[in-house]
Symmetry: C2
Subunit: 242 residues, 2 copies
């Protein structure tokens, strides 16, 4: 049975600062828990309904514990708790390498659903990595993980200052998504570069914008003021990568 202290520890991982302190996170949901157990060795424990656990193969080294619905609800950070959740180590990142591939950089994209959806887009288009400012939604937030639909396993997310990144990589083309740049329709497809997406309401910061080699814009035929950040990322990838 889960002790009170264990429940408290798992709940504490809803906060980014505790995830960073302990190097662990919680993934919620049938599919992601299965995928994490199957494709990685980072899962330490699985807490799930007895029905979910019944007849399921649990890898060596993973503690599996059947818990009651009310405990799952206590453990979950989502409004609709799932049948299963996994406690896992945050994996080490491979070295960041921008050369010869396309990367996405997020300048304070704050909605976890947007960041998760962008990770999923990156995985679809074979983007090597995502770089986020520290103010962006955390890649290990439960809502981010949910929105990635498993893609979190395949796209490493780095957290660092984008001004420093751009200053250190002036030889890599950088494409800033803005409202007043060159029409993406006339931008040739790319094999190497950084696509930069800004905050949901403010867009890219002036400092970041000033360091980008290209400014690109999705032409507007109608009247909406803006596009959702994840949708804009998808449209840009759909023009620059294919």
């Amino acid at each position: 049975m889960l002790s009170k202290a264990q429940i408290k520890y798992i709940q504490s991982l809803q906060h980014k600062k505790n995830r960073q302190k302990f190097g662990q996170f919680v993934a919620e949901g049938d599919k992601i828990v299965q995928e994490l157990m199957g494709a990685t060795n980072i899962v330490k424990a699985v807490y799930a309904s007895p029905e979910w656990l019944a007849g399921r193969q649990i890898p060596a080294g993973v503690t599996a514990e059947a818990v009651a619905p009310e405990v799952l609800k206590q453990l979950s950070s989502l409004s609709t708790p799932n049948q299963a959740l996994a406690l896992a180590d945050i994996p080490a990142l491979p070295p960041l390498r921008l050369e010869g591939a396309v990367s996405i950089a997020l300048d304070t994209v704050q909605d976890p659903g947007n960041v998760g959806t962008i990770i999923r887009i990156a995985d679809w288009f074979g983007i090597r990595q995502i770089i986020c400012t520290p103010e962006s939604a955390d890649a290990y937030n439960a809502k981010t993980i949910q929105a990635t639909m498993g893609s979190m396993l395949r796209v490493p997310v780095y957290v660092q200052s984008l001004t420093a990144l751009l200053q250190e990589h002036k030889h890599i083309p950088s494409y800033a998504a803005t409202l007043h740049g060159s029409n993406i329709v006339h931008t040739p497809t790319i094999k190497e570069g950084i696509i930069l997406i800004g905050n949901e309401s403010r867009g890219l910061s002036e400092e970041v914008l000033a360091l980008c080699s290209h400014r690109i814009t999705i032409p507007r035929l109608g009247h909406a003021e803006s596009l959702n950040a994840a949708v804009a990322t998808g449209i840009i990838c759909g023009r620059l990568l294919i």
Copy 2:
């Protein structure tokens, strides 16, 4: 002061069947309430914090009432209640006309956030209208309205069977978004047509698919199993409309 019956009535509009019965809906949030009051005459009442109402111009025919935070919380269907909400009539729809324009059809897209984001995309790209199956998320759901970011004012949404629609409009090209169709990169841009988007997990139904004149696919360069429905809609519009 709002009576208990009024509070109950507003809460009842969280359910689609009551919105249909009474022909009214509730819009939540500073921006959308302002836009609805400014651009339409469908708003009947505004319930907001005293701070929100202070010095604000309220059009003739609109009842404005200052309410306490706890009442706003009671009235709201969102987990984070807003400063203002509006009670409004569901506007009458102009006649559906597919000729000479691009439309989007949603086959049981069930997430209100996705439907709202697709309305916003449609508004950006100047799409004339959206047609949804009755099983799709409702356009007047509070979460849908929130995700449209005001675009609900400009894009009419019709609810009807897509098989009937396609059978009656065989002369209009229809583009089904599928996983195994022609590469969208090789699809010429269109000035007339219906872009069809399927359910988040099942995609388009067989019956709808069988009636479409074209099947189109976003090429996958990486490993994600699928794309979010709204993102896929955006990418397709970003290739077929611009």
